[in-house]
Amino acid sequence: MADIKFSDAVIDTAGTVVNKCMGLEDAPCMSACPMSTDAKGYVNLIAEGKFEESLKLIREKLFLPNTLGRICAHPCEAKCRRGTEYGEPISIAALKRFAAERADDESLWDLTKADATGKRVAVVGAGPSGAQAAIELARSGHDVTILEKLDVVGGMMRVGIPEYRLPRNIIDHEYTYLTSLGVQFEFGVEVGKDVTLDSLREDYDAVILAHGAHKGSIVPVPGHDAEGVFSAADYLREISLTRSFPRAGKRIMVVGGGDVAMDCARSSWRIGAHAVVQCSLEDDETLPASEEEIREAKEEGVAFNAGWGPDEIYVENGRVTGIRIRRVLSVFDASGRFNPCYGDETKEFSVDTVIFATGQKVEDITSGALEQKQGGRYVVDANTLATSMENVFVAGDAAGTNIVIEAMAYGRKAGLSADRYLTGRTLDDGRDFSREFSYGTKLDVPIPEGTEDLPRLSPNLRDPRVRKRDFDECDTGFSDEQALKEASRCLKCECRLCMRECVMMNEFGSCPKDILDPLVNRGEMDPLLAYSCNGCDNCTIVCPHEFQLKKVFVGSRKDFVAANRGESPMKGHKVIKLHQLLGFSKFFTTKIRGRKK
């Protein structure tokens, strides 16, 4: 057969299909995950009872499934179609915990590493971003040492997130993955004080700053410098490490409306508070804390004053004795700037302790060598996390992330960049930056026919009256039965609707985009593909874009014929040729004009 020149109509139609077909688009949950964890995949493996396979799939991306299963802020759930459609997203994070509790085993941990490069990397901070960067680099064969100020691993997961949400033995166990990979730890080393960045740059080939945002902030209202006023960062760190905070009293006011504020309020009960009150500029509708955290705090008896801001802290003999809060009329002004506006209404509380959960900042550990911006975040290249110093990269909250899974994605990013730097490649070598964080998905398909609005499974929480007095975990996790039921709600978001209709396309690829890619990109098409289409249009009927694939498959046949001296290129069509000759032959045809009646 001669070279085929496909007609414009065929190429144009195929081009549109390859461009717009949603067959290879990721589910919203997966694309929302900064680490691109295949949530749809592992949830469905749970639904099928394949717990170990589910866990393995999670571990392809995440080294701490049991930790994240408890505390991940789960951006996946915000995009879950069961959520956007019915307000009842799948409990993806909790299912991850289930898979980890049910099936994780050190024997499943992937410890493969590239050959040793002899390059040494220092990672500052043992939080999730530092850990992920270390993993990435150790796997690439580099010699990695994590320098950590504290004596424990986990970063804010350890000294921010309270124990009743995340038992410490889980963090410790999951971090042994790093030691197994050969990552070294040096505890009790504060970079910037015990050792300088300059000396690290001398002693190591590359440095990753992953020291988080640990500097608490205190709003300068009158009385803010009294004894009994603390930042959330200091408060939670001490409680995390010692299960107590001797400098606090018994009546606690927590200022702030985010998850950190909830952690402070709920931790207060556990160290023996008698009364816990909250206030925040944001009102009930706009509280930034997650719904679960708010509900659980309320169950434990935290008194909410959402929409009230701190006005003055009352002080006697240098100690806090109370606080006055004032009604907030608006938080942002007409131009959208943060500019709270207060009314006349006020309330007073007799408290002995005020905790400011109003944001954490990044401490500078470079002695001003690297530029910082709002919140102390370092100025970095958004794609590579490189800094103005050629062997220094920044990861995690120090570079602007806000939650663990984002910090991990930045850890991976910084690790990938450092690896390229260490091996003499350009930083963007072979990378698709868009896949190194959350990304958009084009997937937009109708809800499957017959889908029922099934409710999300609530977590199994201990009695609030009991749990608020100890540090044991609040949530006891799903049973097998619950997990199967919850996982089965997944809508398995994908398009590929045509592939369920068409038999033949399944023999040639995974979706039209996949199948027509060679035609569009190389001008090639298997004639068997073109000649296997029944031209029935069942693909078109179900396609959200109503693509007429027939126009490509059946439409290209005349191009095949033109390239084959006027004949079909398919051997089997000899039969048709004969058939047609007979069908038009005198012997089998006739024409008769009826008589006049």
Partner: protein, 261 residues
């Protein structure tokens, strides 16, 4: 659909290819009936050329179709009645002569009195398999249902009927090229029909459904043939044998000549 039915016009009828190869008697009876209905009537037996077009031989198709057009013109046909959905679409696109589907026509000319309600006592329930090539031709599909109702048969509408019908596996000249795929499509089609007994209005579809494991009748079998009851076997797959098919095709030609006398 062409103009309203009017007895002033000269109608023509062509049975197509698969129908005469399958059931020449039904072709003859249909022609007798139409010839008695219309004062001015002609009959043609020839292929419309769809297979030539489907393999991609457009120039050859044009040439062949011109032959059919010449026959129609020669016979003075002003409106061509067809029993095959591929003929319907091919003529609609390529012919200067208006085309009418036999199935859409029938409700307009009325059903023969002696056949009305003939199957009223039958216990069989048929699923209708619509031809996928005419999935958007509602009038034609409604006509088939009207005929089933006139005959008195019970009908079950499957989820994949009318616009949502599925391919029988025969279309696109796939069978001689990729028989394994075609067979899979046939089985899949039968699986989605919900009932075992199927009525079709395309003889090629009938053959495919038999290959897919269903029992299938052509609607002309039900009109001109004996009443069918639950448990009856459907007619054999004549089209599976090329010899029988061509013998039948020849018989149909003779039958047409006879019926037009």
């Amino acid at each position: 659909m062409a103009d309203m039915v009017t007895k002033e016009k000269r109608y023509g009828f062509m049975p197509g290819c698969s129908l005469p190869s399958y059931n020449p008697e039904a072709v003859a009876k249909t022609i007798e009936f139409l010839n008695a209905t219309f004062p001015h009537f002609s009959a043609v037996q020839k292929c419309c050329g769809k297979p030539t077009k489907a393999v991609g031989q457009y120039d050859l198709f044009k040439e062949r179709f011109a032959g059919l057009q010449a026959d129609m013109d020669d016979m003075g046909i002003e409106d061509m009645i067809v029993a095959c959905q591929s003929c319907f679409l091919t003529l609609k696109e390529a012919s200067s002569t208006p085309v009418t589907s036999l199935w859409a026509l029938w409700p307009k000319i009325g059903f023969p009195d002696d056949l009305k309600g003939k199957a009223a006592d039958s216990d069989i329930v048929f699923t209708i398999h619509d031809s996928c090539s005419t999935r958007y031709e509602e009038e034609l599909q409604d006509g088939v249902r009207w005929i089933m109702d006139q005959l008195g048969y019970q009908v079950h509408e499957s989820k994949h009927a009318k616009e949502r019908t599925r391919c029988c596996g025969f279309g696109g000249m796939v069978v001689p090229v990729n028989p394994e795929i075609a067979q899979k499509v046939m089985v899949k089609r039968v699986e989605t029909l919900e009932k075992e007994n199927v009525v079709v209005y395309c003889a090629a579809c009938r053959s495919s459904l038999l290959k897919g494991g269903a029992k299938a009748w052509h609607i002309l079998d039900l009109i001109w043939g004996p009443v069918v009851n639950e448990g009856d076997d459907s007619p054999m797959d004549v089209l599976a044998s090329p010899i029988k098919s061509w013998v039948n095709r020849y018989k149909a030609k003779r039958g047409i000549v006879h019926a037009m006398r």
